[in-house]
């Protein structure tokens, strides 16, 4: 028997409150897939079976009065394939792709990187902190635009690690 609407609502609610980035279910005629975008909102990608069209709206995991969520287009932040390595910001600050406004960027999408190579700068309290790569690989995604603020733990880059 496929899941009821209520059951699907419950699942959505539950997953919304979790920190999973992806949830897939194939259950007796119901297929449900939830993916979390990098801005924290959930998107219902493929409600099939018993799920009516009415639930196929993004479920923003925000309380009333909270800042509006800026939906990031799916193309800009595809879910990482299983072998992509993430480089996260170790500090709060402002993200810069080059050592100075007129200088070349440290890396581009497609750049081949060695561990220890500088990927970017995060400025915090007027200090320029160089963020180094911890693996050998190739840049697949650069998730932050030049000059944008970053939080602690925010993903900056995704790399395909070199095959051994």
């Amino acid at each position: 028997m496929p899941l009821s609407l209520k059951e699907i609502h419950d699942l959505i609610e539950r997953i919304s409150r979790s920190d999973f980035s992806c949830f897939e279910l194939d259950h007796d005629g119901t297929k449900l897939k939830l993916e979390r975008r990098s801005d924290g909102a959930m998107q219902i990608v493929a409600p099939v079976g018993a799920a009516p069209a009415a639930v196929a709206v993004p479920v923003a995991v925000t309380a009333p009065g909270a800042a509006p969520v800026n939906p990031v287009p799916v193309q800009a932040a595809p879910a990482p394939a299983e072998d992509l390595h993430e480089v996260k910001s170790p500090i709060v600050g402002t993200f810069y792709r080059s050592p100075s406004p007129k200088a070349d960027v440290f890396v581009e999408t497609g750049s081949r990187i060695k561990a220890g190579q500088t990927l970017c700068i995060v400025e915090a309290m007027k200090l320029m902190n160089e963020i180094e790569c911890d693996v050998d690989g190739e840049i697949v995604d650069i998730l932050i635009a030049n000059g944008q603020p970053v939080e602690y733990g925010e993903v900056l880059f995704r790399l395909r690690i070199n095959a051994a």
């Binding site: 925000t62 800042a67 709060v92 600050g93 603020p149 602690y152």
Partner: protein, 464 residues
């Protein structure tokens, strides 16, 4: 008024500050550790920044991350709440150096009041009585000669101590000799200063504190007292205003001393002057807390003043919104701190709250960041809610608090509610006959001497 401020705290006090900001039309930035990403202070703020991992030293005590968060969000001021960085003079200085207004008093005032010996000297100069004691004592000989003058029993106290640490009761010269090096060693390890002094140990005293409030234009008022003698190992459990021990004459005398203390240091913003009050109605300054207190709602209950809104207005350069003559106390207010602790051993019991229903009805207020299905984190303070009752008199405030705690549903974790209910039905408590030793009747043996300053809402600040 500020357009946007950052709140360098978590839990109920962060929410409390958000409420005040919303009423004033000020936008808010919440900061949070990775452990607090789903917390209510994050949900209800206008913006939020993750500043580090769960450990407080890497997040809520991480000055550089907090300042960066203020900079990337364009906040103009920082409210530190209580605990964490609220009494870090260094943090206040860094804020000002980065053109961020620190919502609190001047860094130099914070530094002076955080140093017990300097605070004492300032009070002596201002002719505010302090507990009889010595200057710094270094050697055994200095200590012994100072002890002869003060008389036993006395306390060995570390200048930088707090939260019951760096404190020892001694009743004889033998004990003084034995414990002096021990306290110095402890203090050196915990506070990076091993300076200690001696202080007379007073028996049967009450802890009575006065709320003071100054602005940056030289105005200063007091908002009456809070009775905080119901403590367990220097942790306040229940606070109330007015104190059952004060009459109008004594209240006026103590208020005058509190204002003198605050005036002596040119105090601006919210502060608390703590006194020990003995059975002869003599009172002694013990310390000044240079921040909003956990128990500020008790004062809000009897005065009708919103202390946090007043903090924001004063920090923005406005004058105090009231004169001393405008402040009139009505009725009686009482606060119980509900902690996620075993009600007998008082050991923290973190865990997941499965059901949570707060009491309502007249004369009640509950400040909390907890909710159904939330996790009480083992990383931070165990206080999960403050229940504040208000009545036309003390008896009404007590009966109201009792029915509030009886109908406060918290399932999934243990809380101190049964301990609070025991206090609220104790005949001596109901009669108003108690001192700081009250809670010893409910425990086998006090580990540290009962009495005086509770520092539960002051967190030791690491050198950053």
């Amino acid at each position: 008024m500020f357009k946007k401020i950052l709140i360098a705290n978590r839990g109920e006090i962060a929410l409390r500050i958000i409420w005040a900001c919303r009423e004033l039309g000020v936008r808010t930035v919440a900061v949070h550790s990775e452990a607090d990403a789903d917390s209510l202070h994050v949900k209800f703020a206008d913006e939020e920044v993750c500043i580090g991992p769960a450990r407080a030293t890497e997040s809520y005590l991480n000055i550089s991350a907090i300042i960066s968060a203020a900079e990337i969000t364009g906040a103009e001021a920082i409210h530190p709440g209580y605990g964490f960085l609220a009494e870090s003079a260094h943090f206040a200085e860094v804020c000002h150096a980065c053109n961020l207004k620190f919502i609190g008093p001047d860094p130099e005032v914070i530094r002076m009041m955080g140093d017990k010996a300097r605070a004492r000297a300032a009070m002596d100069a201002a002719h505010v009585a302090t507990v009889p004691g010595s200057g710094l004592v270094d050697t055994e000989e200095e200590a012994e000669s100072a002890a002869e003058k003060i008389g036993y029993p006395l306390l060995i106290k570390a200048t930088a101590g707090g939260g019951g640490k760096g404190l020892r009761l001694v009743t004889s010269r033998q004990e003084l000799r034995r414990f002096l090096p021990q306290v110095k060693a402890e203090a050196g390890a915990a506070f990076s200063s091993d300076a200690v002094y001696l202080e007379k140990y007073l028996v049967g005293t009450r802890h009575v504190e006065f709320q003071v409030f100054g602005d940056e234009h030289g105005n200063l008022v007091h908002m009456g007292e809070r009775e905080c003698s119901i403590q367990r190992r220097h942790q306040k459990l229940l606070e109330e205003s007015p104190s059952p021990a004060l009459d109008d004459v004594l209240r006026a005398r103590m208020a005058a001393a509190a204002l003198k203390a605050a005036n002596a240091v040119g105090y601006a913003n919210a502060g608390t002057v703590e006194f020990l009050l003995d059975k002869n109605k003599d009172f002694y300054f013990i310390e000044m807390n240079t921040r909003i207190q956990v128990e500020h709602p008790v004062t809000e209950g009897v005065t009708g003043i919103d202390l946090v809104k007043e903090q924001l207005q004063v920090a923005a350069g406005e004058k105090l919104s009231m004169k001393q003559s405008d402040i009139v106390m009505h009725g009686h207010a009482m606060e119980c701190r509900v902690n996620a602790e075993d009600p007998v051993t008082f050991r923290p019991c973190p865990g997941r709250i499965t059901a949570f229903h707060v009491p309502g009805g007249p004369g009640l207020r509950v400040d909390t960041a907890a909710h159904a299905d939330c996790l009480v984190s083992p990383y931070y303070d165990s206080m999960i809610a403050k229940v504040i009752s208000r009545g036309n008199n003390r008896a009404e405030a007590i009966s109201r608090m009792r029915r509030a705690l009886e109908s406060f549903i918290i399932e999934g974790i243990k809380t101190t509610i049964p301990a609070q209910l025991r206090i609220l039905t104790d005949p001596d408590f109901i009669a108003g006959n108690f001192d700081t030793g009250f809670m010893t009747r409910y425990q086998d043996k006090p580990a540290t001497p009962p009495g005086e300053a509770s520092d539960s809402d002051r967190t030791a600040v690491p050198a950053v």
